[in-house]
Amino acid sequence: MRTSFSRKKILLVAIGILFILSLNFFQKEAKGFFYSISSPLQEKLWENGSNTSNFLEAIFKTGKLLKENEALKLRVQELLYDHNYMNVLEDENKMLREALNLGFREQIKLELAKIIGKDINRGGILLNKGSENGISNGSLVVNSQKVLVGTIAEVYKTNSKVLLISDKQSSFEVQIPSANSSGLAKGLGGSGALLDLIPKDAQIKTGDLVVSGDFLIGLIGEIKKEDASPFQQAEISPFFDISGLNKVFIILDF
């Protein structure tokens, strides 16, 4: 087998690397071009991947799904009770607002986008909407259940990239309503996140809801307390699951 590198090959490689490095000067245009031509095929691949994965999961996890179904039925009953209580509060709130002559918050302007791919190396996703749809950097991305998925990090003409809340570069303020406390959520990579800087006296417990403004984030997992530290930490199990997600909403305007 011939394994020696000829001068011609080395020269070709050097020219190739220089060509690729020169693409960095117009990275946005180059990436945007490839995203726009591959978008329709990626859309199909993402959908097929999602369907195949769901099908296989249904086959392999039947037992687990049955248990999960039972737990969810109980949770639905609890939530129905809460919902009923919320309806009473909502009526009361409406009456108070009318009495105080306060207007309701304006509707949020949303843009529906399809997920067409995942970042090769990071926990980011690629969407089929870009600057021509009015998307800008920093816009929040949520799913239909008002669960925060991430923020727009890169915008191209027809596509945009989302920095997921679980990404290592992601950090934002969150609240724990049940403990009337707040903290800082940091992505851990993969699909998890860490809740940091929670005051030590905050009475948080596993299963507590974590929100960021009007949007849901996840539930508190394992709690870590250290005597020397003035703060406590906790793991967050985010509500969103990229593998089961096909469409998201980009918040254009509050």
Binding site: M1, R2, T3, S4, F5, K9, L12, V13, G16, I17, I20, L21, L23, N24, Q27, A30, K31, F34, S38, L41, Q42, E43, L45, W46, N48, G49, S50, T52, S53, I116, G117, K118, D119, I120, N121, R122, G124, L126, E154, K161, G189, G190, S191, I242, S243
Partner: protein, 97 residues
Amino acid sequence: MLAKIFIFALSLFFLTLLQSSFLPHFVIFGYAPNFILILIIFIFFLMPSLDLPAAFFGGLFLDIFSSHFFGFYTSILLGTLFFIKLIARKYVQFSFK
């Protein structure tokens, strides 16, 4: 040869799309294997005449679908290829009888 490289580059582009849009649904412990890298190692052994173009185009397409700068994956794949070639030349002897 050029037509061969073109078809090969097109196949690598399609494989990168699969890596980016189909395989994320089948992750193991949060990670999906990098099939482009695996393919390049196979190509080195099975089609050595195409290993350089494979590493070049594979790296370019991975750079496009990642958040890194252009040249990141290309350098990694070309570096890996040269390393394998070096090891193969110095320490591995192939005999075909």
